[in-house]
C-alpha cells in the first residue's frame, strides 16, 4: 500500500465513523460532531492528495483546506446556535422529540 492509499484509508475510516454517528445518534449535538468528523476526513484526503498525489504544487491543497476549515467553522457556529434555539423552544435536544412538522 503506497502512502497515499494509507492516508486515504484513514480518511475513509474517519468518514465512516462520522457518518454512522450522524445517522444514528439521536442527540443534535452528537449529530453535529459526526458532521464535523466527516468534514475533517475530507480535509485529510485533500492534504494527502496534495502531498503524495500527482499535484504540481502542494500550496493549492493547503489553500483548499484553509477555505474548508473556515466554512466548517461557520457551519459549526450556526449549527450550535440552531441547537440552542431548538432547546429553548422544545426543552430538549433529542431529535426524536422535535417532530412538530411530522405528518
Amino acid at each position: 500500500m503506497n502512502p497515499l492509499q494509507t492516508y486515504l484509508m484513514i480518511a475513509a475510516a474517519l468518514f465512516a465513523i462520522g457518518f454512522a454517528g450522524a445517522v444514528l445518534r439521536r442527540n443534535a449535538i452528537l449529530m453535529l460532531m459526526g458532521i464535523e468528523l466527516m468534514l475533517n476526513a475530507a480535509n485529510l484526503s485533500f492534504l494527502a492528495f496534495a502531498r503524495h498525489g500527482a499535484a504540481l504544487e502542494q500550496v493549492n491543497g493547503m489553500v483548499f483546506v484553509l477555505f474548508s476549515i473556515a466554512i466548517a467553522a461557520a457551519e459549526a457556529g450556526v449549527g450550535l446556535a440552531l441547537i440552542i434555539a431548538v432547546y429553548r423552544h422544545f426543552k430538549t435536544t433529542d431529535l426524536d422529540h422535535v417532530n412538530t412538522l411530522r405528518g
Binding site: N2, P3, Q5, T6, L8, M9, I10, A12, A13, L14, F15, A16, I17, G18, F19, A20, G21, L24, R25, N27, I29, L30, L32, M33, E36, L37, N40, N43, L44, L47, A48, R51, H52, G53, A54, E57, Q58, V59, N60, M62, V63, L66, F67, I69, A70, A72, A73, A74, E75, A76, G77, V78, L80, A81, I83, I84, A85, Y87, R88, T93
Partner: protein, 173 residues
C-alpha cells in the same frame, strides 16, 4: 506504515469512535478534541505545518470549546445520555463497516492511484508567504466570499441564539 503514523491513526480513529459511542456528552466532546489533535498531527506529518497549526487553533481551541459550551447550555447539570440500545450499536457497526468497505473498495480499485509516483521526493515545505500569495493573488475572490460568509454566519448565529421576545397579545383597555 511507520510507527508514528500508526499511533496518530489510532489516536484519530479511536478518538472518533469514542466520541460517537460514549454515553456522557462531556466525554464525547473531549474525545472529539483528542481526535482533532491527532488529525493535526497527521497534517504535520503530511508536511503541512500551517494547516496543522490552524487545525489546532480552530478545531481543538475553538470548535471543541463551543461544543462544550453548547452541551452545558442545553443540559443544565445532567449530561448523561440514555444508554445506546444494543440494536443501535449493532446498526452503527454495520453502517461503519459498510461505508468503509465501499470507500476502501473504491480506493483499492482505482486505476489512477497506482499511477502516482510511489514515493515522491519530499517537496520543499510551502512557506506561509507562499500560501498568502496564492490566497491574495489567484484566490482573492473566494477569500472575500469567505469573509462575507463568515460575517453572515456570525450575524445569523447571533440572531438565532438571541432571546425570543415575549409576544404578548396587546391588552385591551
Amino acid at each position: 506504515m511507520t510507527p508514528n503514523l500508526f499511533i496518530l491513526a489510532l489516536l484519530v480513529i479511536g478518538g472518533a469512535a469514542a466520541a460517537m459511542t460514549l454515553r456522557n456528552l462531556i466525554h464525547c466532546a473531549l474525545a472529539l478534541a483528542l481526535s482533532f489533535l491527532g488529525l493535526a498531527g497527521l497534517f504535520l506529518h503530511l508536511n503541512a505545518q500551517f494547516v496543522g497549526f490552524a487545525q489546532i487553533l480552530v478545531y481543538v481551541g475553538a470548535v471543541s470549546i463551543v461544543i462544550l459550551f453548547a452541551i452545558l447550555l442545553t443540559r443544565g447539570g445532567d449530561t448523561q445520555e440514555p444508554p445506546l440500545p444494543k440494536k443501535g450499536l449493532l446498526a452503527g457497526g454495520l453502517i461503519t463497516v459498510g461505508v468503509f468497505a465501499i470507500l476502501s473498495g473504491g480506493i483499492g480499485g482505482s486505476h489512477l492511484l497506482p499511477l502516482v509516483h510511489p514515493s515522491p521526493p519530499a517537496p520543499s515545505e510551502p512557506t506561509v508567504a507562499e500560501i498568502g500569495k496564492v490566497m491574495m493573488l489567484s484566490c482573492v475572490v473566494p477569500l472575500l466570499a469567505t469573509g462575507v460568509l463568515l460575517t453572515a454566519a456570525l450575524l445569523g448565529a447571533l440572531l438565532l441564539a438571541l432571546k425570543e421576545k415575549q409576544t404578548e397579545p396587546p391588552s385591551r383597555p
